[in-house]
Subunit: 438 residues, 2 copies
Amino acid sequence: MQKVHIGLIGGGTVGGGVVNTLRKNGQLITSRTGVSLQIRAVAVRDPRKKRNVKISPSIITDDWQSVVQDPKISIIAELMGGTTLAKRVVMAALKQGKAVVTANKALLAEHGPTLFALARKHGANIYYEAAVAGGIPIIKVLRESLAANRVTRLYGIVNGTCNYILTRMKEEGAAFYDVLKDAQDLGYAEAEPSLDIDGNDAWHKTALMASLTQGFWVAPESVHLEGIRGISQLDIQFADVLGYTVRLLGIVKADSKAKDGRSSVEVGVYPALVPNGHVLAGINGVNNAILIRGDIVGDTLYYGPGAGQDATASSVVSDLIDAAIDLKGGSDCRVPPFEAHDANGFVTPIDETCSSFYIRLSVTDKPGTLARISRILGDARIGISSVIQPEGHEGASVPLILMIHDAKNAAMSAAIKKISRLPVVKGAPVVYRVEHFD
Amino acid sequence: MQKVHIGLIGGGTVGGGVVNTLRKNGQLITSRTGVSLQIRAVAVRDPRKKRNVKISPSIITDDWQSVVQDPKISIIAELMGGTTLAKRVVMAALKQGKAVVTANKALLAEHGPTLFALARKHGANIYYEAAVAGGIPIIKVLRESLAANRVTRLYGIVNGTCNYILTRMKEEGAAFYDVLKDAQDLGYAEAEPSLDIDGNDAWHKTALMASLTQGFWVAPESVHLEGIRGISQLDIQFADVLGYTVRLLGIVKADSKAKDGRSSVEVGVYPALVPNGHVLAGINGVNNAILIRGDIVGDTLYYGPGAGQDATASSVVSDLIDAAIDLKGGSDCRVPPFEAHDANGFVTPIDETCSSFYIRLSVTDKPGTLARISRILGDARIGISSVIQPEGHEGASVPLILMIHDAKNAAMSAAIKKISRLPVVKGAPVVYRVEHFD
């Protein structure tokens, strides 16, 4: 049995979860793996702060540098969040040749190439199972279990807050801001909710999964992003009548044909209409799910809690175990954190990709309205697959829904701009993509 | 880049899938992992047999011993099936200190302890991702990703043939033997279907997953087994009316309290009524799904194709990659094939466990019938939670359904025996368990 000493940087929710998990199952882990994980130090901002999880005062410090430099510590778990100090911590640990475990998706999505290069230079490794989808072991699945596959499609529900809001809006007919308030009261959403509802959290996770599966670095900036802020109950209802459920999806689609000898990939995060029969339409509440299509295995799906103290700790500790086993076996870089294997890959700009669309307009209910709208679409060579004028709406303007089967995003944007300027169209058009999973 | 030479024993469906996968994605795998997987020899029974997958005649042989003994070959993939010759092959390879990859659940379930001990003795490893749930990477999930957790519950739909039959019976109202015939015509079921429909295949898989999660060896013989042969359309329908879907489940339940200081576990394979809203009720067709409850992470679910040439090959090749990386890094036994970590664990005999039950009787429709039946149950201290006498049934005997909330299996069996002897009860009682996932 080999003792491996760990330094935690951060003693908040995730750090506390890790301490709890090792306290509860440390012996089990040792008997399973032959390594004993010992937390030797926990660096926190304020050592005197009252904590929910009991940590022995003798191992608490406010000096993270002393933890990173402690020669007895061979694994540093960065659990503080943020991207500035966290970056310094991780870089300092890697420079010492120490293994780094992190749950920090923003740090990796924004500074991955720098950190991975530094890890390689110092023969260290970075483990980040908890950075994507909380307790679902999606990183190991992508890096190891599906390694025989070219991943051609990935669809992820990777933000539990958004999924909770969309689920309750559909199930209860509740309004966006009412459900958001509930989510905040229940602790599912932050007081400042933009990281979740504007999609940034899903954006970082999707960029990471795109990078891992496609083999070239996908910077978040190259990923198209739309959140769900202010999504209307009307659209949730119309989508349902049409047989769809709205979900915020992180999407990766490898084009089957290379462009100019380069492999192009679509990567985006946006609310999408998912057919009601599809498995992702049935993922409800705060849970996450990731559907992956491999060219050999076909479709597999991974489902579970995407956040929370214990779920995240489960993934962090699985990384600590991995790191400890690797250190014990002298195979520190057995599976490197990120292996670029497609020097020519690139993300197709959203304008050049094709999508299906749901469009809701508020229009004046008089003859000729539809003709004007369809002329604009026709001129743009965009075919309408169906037009729905829901009954029971009266007044100065009524809803008109257009379903579009496959249009280039640039052409669609331009047409929508023109349509929005028509005098018969009131207010801004609502546009969502429809996913067919083909 | 390091070349690793592989010998395949078996050139049938799975072997062909492995050859295809390496032909298609071999280069990708090398650029991802830094190892090049080279098939150096394929041992088959009849080298002259026509095959769907092209294998160069120069590497085909009918002499498996020459393959196992080839000093250039460091990984042996046993893909022949069966448990007699396959056991000899695996033992011979392990004695040479070679890594073994196998998709053979029966071999491992029946001879696991012998093979794992031999592997340990010779410093070799056994990889078996494809042995359970085909393309779903459940073995790595259990051995590595969830290693921080005590697994308290596991519910698996791990036989695609049974799930296909049960799905179509529910969706179309078709009879068992009609759907079985279709499944055979489509290649989902063998001409001799007993391995699937009598539950043996799920039994081997469940025993393996029970062993892995509970940390002591669970021999298949200690696992209670009931298949789905001849399941009646009537029960599928009544279950649906009551709000349930019938699924063949492999179940592992760790008792929360140790008995006499020993941890007891319930392990069984049987058709069960699953509440319609539960995620496992929604797993349709030939797919597999495994729901795992970890004491830290909570519930996670893994879903995908449980069989088929390519899905199985995806898992076999992921094992080949793992083995090759381990050999390259000199960490051959990084994660040993099975680590007993609970010397005191045991499987509770089914008679001593408690279940909820669905019971369908054919009874003579006259006064006093229910009184006689409920007296027997009352004497056995078994409480009836509801009685349903479906309408629209006439004749000498009519169906009577009893739902039982929590009865000891032994008491239930004894009571059913008595009930079946009542003159008012015609034919054999039908008894299925009901799962509440608590």
